[in-house]
Symmetry: C2
């Protein structure tokens, strides 16, 4: 079975807004064994909408429309889909009553334009929207002789997601042949994409029955495996087999085999070892701390640290002797090591992480170019320093440095 | 003139990848007076691709294809577009030579599959790609009696963007009627979307000739104004007029009228006042520092600060007396004030910003619920503390707190 997702709204055709709902729906549809074959964005224009709907109904088994269900003149999805299907719209008194009640609960009277949100396509099932005014709709039937499922969903993600999960997912499953699907997400830190692919492609290319998608970020590569089969056991076994081979190939560069983020993994390891961490960040300016504290419960292992952007603060908060700063410069092996040891000392953490570098675009020299970063990890067993030259713009250098910093802590704890 | 953007690649139909190139192209096209009417994502399937191309050529003046120009069997854009146009592909010896040279420059021999990247649609102009192997193509001519411009672009953003800017933008301009377009971006901090819209909608709705798009994030609202006219002077004047009225209505809640980010504005103000800033972050864990240091040159006004996640570090780095922590708790008016004053004292900064709160989802109580945050700004003239209860999940609470923290510094400097 194939699906097509249509996002409706002229604002989605500006340079400012992108559709993200479709990624959410795609994930859910894939779990049901449904592949998404087309995604379309169309504006608030009735003729365009009708044509787009007809085209989709012609070529796809399941058509999901997102947005355009509100009360304004621009909200035309109901009318356009009804026209494309050749069906009538009827105002549903029960839905209308609920919309009126919703307004009353806010102490307001429903204005007339809101009433059209109660218009339902003939034969359509109303999908109540507990997070907004406009309900969704579900229509299944024949279109030009073919079985079709049409779903109308509200545009705001906070309305669309629960509505789809609670009212469409099981309903769809009931209409589809049973799907047996296994997925795995493997993640690798600090290896280049082409280098990783050169090692791993010969493996996953042997598993043509498994859909393998590779995503690459700054110092982060993610493998998404998906296998559909006649039995759940077989699907799981195949994915397990391929995942195992990739894990063997990549060894300890692989930090996650269940999709966890690097900051989550670092958190697990710290808790497992009953250890605590503190950071001294210069060129990353707080990004490592922000990533670590994005995890709920990180106060159990993260003490905090210092953003030592100025030389004075490197001395004050991370005990870096002024003489070392003067002799080697703030971006140096020696200062990174002193920062890691100093922040560990000052905070009493078991592990100290330090990052100092030149994020750019300014500040680089021939000897110390933009992208040069020193990272140090200090613990009971001593201090290691790593020197790296990262490519890319300021943000990318900061992202790489943050990623490597977290990875060094992970390796220290392994 | 209307355009349609088609992104090609099965990976764009997975839950993992979204098209962002189209936002970039839309911005450039709008500047040329071209509206984007449709965006489509289609997989690496020849029949689907041909049908999508035909449909687009039928309804749109300008059709931009992104991706599918590489050397693999899945790269079918050239073939499919040629078929849709009813034109032949011919191998261009000059392009082939350049591809071979590119391989040679890496010390490698071109494999045979790469040769197809030299296939050019009859009458097409080759658009050299200085960041990759596959060149783009430009075809203009009649399709079913209508004038059409077809552009083939490589998929990777690092190739697509410079190629479009350097080789398509002016070429397109030459084919289009002159466009006189003015744009403005206004930004507002820490006001609710519906509250802002209630105040501003009556104003911008009177300017039906100006396209106004509103984007809302955590504590951040952005108005994008775009006006097309017969003369540049008139376009500028109209946008200026509407922008002025919105600015008057929103007063000092408006932090930017030229699209700058809040961290940029804070940086400007600090430099203008010759002032320095230090932060003491608890629940935001380094996010404020990360935002400030995302700006190149921030070392001129940002000294750094401390991530005082534990109580001990609040005392050690931000001089918060243990007695105050014991009496009022870490999340309190008193601790926020002490943190801001302490970090200012410790670092010698002119302004100290402190944030302490409960980001959740754990850690909340009846008295101090999740989302409760205290922020303090301390300067020569004294210390102000703000208490807020932010909605949403952990990340959203952290985002709100970061945004308000920066906004408090801005207001302090105004």
């Amino acid at each position: 079975m194939n699906a097509e997702i249509i996002a409706i709204g002229s604002e989605l055709l500006t340079p400012f807004r992108k559709d993200t709902n479709s990624l959410y729906l795609t994930e859910k549809l894939n779990v049901l064994g449904v592949a998404v074959k087309f995604k379309t964005v169309v504006g608030d224009d009735r003729a365009d909408l009708v044509a787009t709907a007809q085209h989709a109904l012609f070529r796809s088994d399941i058509v999901l429309f997102m947005g355009g269900l509100g009360p304004t003149e621009d909200d035309l999805t109901r009318e356009a889909v009804a026209e494309a299907l050749g069906l009538e719209l009827k105002r549903d008194p029960e839905v209308l009553r609920k919309i009126e009640e919703r307004f009353a609960s806010f102490g307001r009277k429903m204005t007339e334009n809101n009433a059209k949100q109660a218009d339902v396509i003939t034969g359509g099932v109303v999908l109540p929207n507990r997070n907004g005014t406009a309900p969704g709709q579900w229509i299944s039937g024949k279109y030009e002789g073919r079985e079709r499922i049409v779903i109308l969903l509200p545009g705001p993600p906070s309305e669309l997601k629960p509505l789809f999960d609670e009212q469409c997912f099981e309903r769809l499953r009931g209409k589809l042949p049973p799907a047996f699907i296994a997925t795995r997400v493997l993640k690798v830190a600090m290896l280049g994409e082409s280098a990783v692919d050169a090692r791993v492609a010969p493996i996953y290319k042997r598993y043509t029955d498994i859909q393998t998608t590779i995503l690459a970020g700054a110092g982060d590569i993610q493998f998404n495996l998906l296998k559909q089969s006649d039995s759940q056991t077989e699907a799981e076994a195949r994915v397990e087999e391929l995942a195992g081979l990739i894990e063997d190939e990549l060894g300890d560069a692989l930090y996650s085999s269940k999709g966890e983020s690097l900051e989550q993994i670092v958190g697990y390891y710290l808790q497992m070892r009953n250890a605590t961490l503190a950071v001294a960040e210069s060129c990353t300016g707080g990004m490592v701390g922000a990533r670590i504290t994005s995890i709920s419960g990180s106060s159990r292992y993260f003490l905090g640290g210092a953003i030592v952007y100025s030389n004075e603060l490197k001395t004050k908060f991370a005990d870096v002797p002024a003489s070392i700063l003067a002799k080697h410069g703030a971006v140096s092996n020696e200062v990174a090591a002193a920062m890691a040891e100093g922040i560990r000392e000052q905070t009493g953490a078991m592990i100290g992480l330090a990052i100092t570098g030149i994020a750019g675009p300014g500040g680089g020299t021939v000897e110390k170019p933009v992208g040069l970063v020193y990272l140090a990890v200090s613990g009971e067993s001593g201090t290691e320093v790593v020197e790296r030259k990262f490519p890319g713009d300021r943000h990318r250098v900061q992202m790489f440095a943050t990623q490597l910093g977290l990875d060094l802590v992970r390796r220290k704890l392994m």
